[in-house]
């Protein structure tokens, strides 16, 4: 659906996007993740053929964004950053206006507007002026606009920014729903959002792609070598004694925790799951155990790791 090759965008004195390449297949929901100023919006603007790249090629559904912009625009539903809307128009009129601009006939645009109003839950507000709607509803109007001409690809630039938790939840659910029928590319700097809605993630920093993988694969790739953490009620010496001779354990760290408990972190020698082993030991020694986990690195940790590594490399 999207093929990006060596895409570069330079502004005077600054390189916003620095030779990125990636592909997105039909039906994927891909998250574009990166701190502010990473080049997400720039990339999306180029993809939607709002502005040209300095070099590199972008093809959407087989059409080049530079040479066949109208073909590309017909196939893309693009919601720009901050979701700009004509705030003096009524919801239905606005969607109809947008449908007509996107080349739908009068009858067809009426049908499609009915459909997206229903799909995005705008039935109650269809006659209201957009300027008087809450941010959550406005966001839905933006989504409805992106959908109205049945595009193959939906590009959403920070679709959930500034929403309250309720609105966040409903807009995310809507995006997830869209992912069943459309290819979706969305940008965000909220990591949980990617975990919740996307099948694949592209991490962008300073105009470069740092990582591109499925969310689960990324997590396992960056997980902390299967480390296990347990809180055990025993003296540090006794704990050290009990685990020292086990061949599976590579190293052990003990820290005092609240009460008489110790927080024990065990690293396995070859990536085994140490949890059953720890539980077995605890039972044999008849200790008290109040926690036993294998901490999973969240996308957030991966992101921080990646972007910091990059920063250090740059210095």
């Amino acid at each position: 659906m999207i093929e990006v090759r060596d895409l570069t965008k330079r502004y005077p004195g600054r390189t916003a996007v620095d030779g990125i390449s990636f592909t997105v297949g039909r039906g994927e929901v891909v998250g574009f993740l990166g701190p502010n100023g990473a080049g997400k919006s720039t990339t999306m603007r180029i993809l939607s053929s709002f502005m040209p790249a300095t070099s590199g090629t972008v093809r959407i559904a087989g059409f080049d964004v530079f040479h066949q912009p109208d073909e590309v625009r017909r196939r893309i539903g693009y919601m720009p950053e901050n979701n700009p809307l004509h705030i003096d128009m009524r919801v239905r009129d606005y969607l109809k206006f947008r449908a007509r601009l996107k080349g739908l006939g009068i009858g067809r645009s009426r049908d499609r507007v009915d459909r997206v109003i229903e799909q995005c839950g705008l039935k109650d507000v269809e006659k209201r002026i957009i300027g008087q709607l809450s941010k959550g509803y406005r966001q839905r109007v933006g989504l409805a606009d992106a959908l109205v001409h049945e595009p193959d690809l939906i590009i959403l630039d920070e679709p959930t920014i500034g929403l309250d938790p309720h609105q966040l939840r409903s807009v995310r659910a809507l995006i997830k729903e869209l992912g069943r029928q459309h290819t979706v590319l969305l940008s965000t700097h909220i990591l949980t959002e990617v975990e919740m809605t996307c099948s694949r993630v592209l991490i962008l920093n300073q105009g470069r792609i740092l990582a591109a993988d499925r969310v689960e694969d990324l997590e396992s790739r960056f997980s902390q070598d299967g480390r296990v953490v347990a809180e055990i009620d025993a003296t540090p010496e006794a704990i050290r004694e009990a685990f020292r001779d086990l061949p599976e354990v590579a190293s052990i760290e003990i820290q005092a925790a609240a009460g008489s408990f110790q927080r024990v972190a065990l690293t396995p020698r070859a990536g085994e799951d140490l949890r059953t082993l720890v539980f077995e030991q605890v039972r044999q020694q008849e200790w008290n155990l109040r926690e036993l986990t294998r901490p999973r690195l969240s996308l957030e940790d991966i992101f921080i790791q990646l972007t910091q590594k990059n920063k250090r490399g740059g210095l």
């Binding site: 709002f50 700009p84 004509h86 601009l101």
Partner: protein
């Protein structure tokens, strides 16, 4: 074509949905009211008064003040506001051509401008009824006046649309077109008042003088050269606007 009409409708809608639209209409009416006072005064004092269109559109400054003040306000919104709001990005990522957008914004502005003059035409018709002197308001002269309002308006509006495409600030857009408008008017006044017999440059400037054009129009003389002049200037500025949009896009 249908998309073009949709865009024009949107432009008109935006004008009527905003306060500025009504301010423009109010200014036009207020100034027309002053003009009317002037006309009544002249009709009462002169034994052989000039025809009304000449008093109003050629001799007086009311028409010019109205034109110069309202056209920048009508056009300042066209591109600048959309850019500031970000809807410009949404607009330009639909399969709508640049020329379509430029022409629609211009046409919308022109339609609103002509609508804002409509009440004045009513005023003149009433005046004709009241004075019982049909020769003061000749239908041909009225046609000339309408052509003049449209033609000269087009020129000023195209300048305004162009100014709006240069910036994302409506104030800067309005100030720019106001300055160009005042410049054009004062230059025209200056050259239409000089004695132009013989001097080639003087004659040329006289042909280019917009106030001179309006004097002709108000007498019911629809001069082809004036029409061509205003159409060309309008097209020229719309062409520049399209170039600006294209350039900004591919920068």
């Amino acid at each position: 074509m249908n998309v073009f009409l949709t865009l024009v409708r949107r432009e008109l809608g935006a004008a009527f949905n905003s306060l500025t639209g009504y301010v423009v209409v109010a200014i036009t009416l207020l100034l027309a009211g002053f003009g009317l006072m002037d006309i009544v005064e002249r009709l009462n004092s002169d034994r052989t008064p000039s025809p009304i269109p000449e008093i109003f559109f050629a001799d007086g400054i009311v028409f010019w003040v109205t034109l110069i003040l309202t056209t920048p306000v009508i056009t300042m919104r066209t591109f600048a506001a959309e850019k500031a709001l970000g809807t410009y990005e949404a607009l330009m990522t639909t399969p709508v051509g640049e020329w379509q957008v430029v022409l629609a914004k211009f046409t919308g502005s022109l339609a609103f401008y002509l609508l804002s003059w409509a009440p004045l035409i009513g005023v003149l018709v009433v005046l004709r009824q009241v004075t019982h002197q049909p020769q003061l308001l000749d239908p041909w002269a009225m046609c000339g006046v309408l052509t003049g309002i449209a033609c000269i308006g087009s020129t000023f509006l195209s300048i305004g649309v162009f100014a709006s495409s240069l910036t994302r600030s409506q104030i800067i857009a309005a100030m720019t077109s106001l300055l160009i408008g005042i410049g054009l008017w004062t230059m025209s006044l200056r050259f239409s008042q000089t004695d132009t017999t013989g001097d080639r440059l003087g004659r040329l400037m006289d042909h280019l003088s917009v106030t001179h054009h309006m004097q002709d129009f108000a007498r019911g003389v629809i001069d082809g050269r004036a029409l061509v002049f205003h159409l060309s200037v309008t097209f020229f500025f719309l062409f520049l606007t399209q170039r600006v949009i294209e350039m900004r896009r591919w920068k």
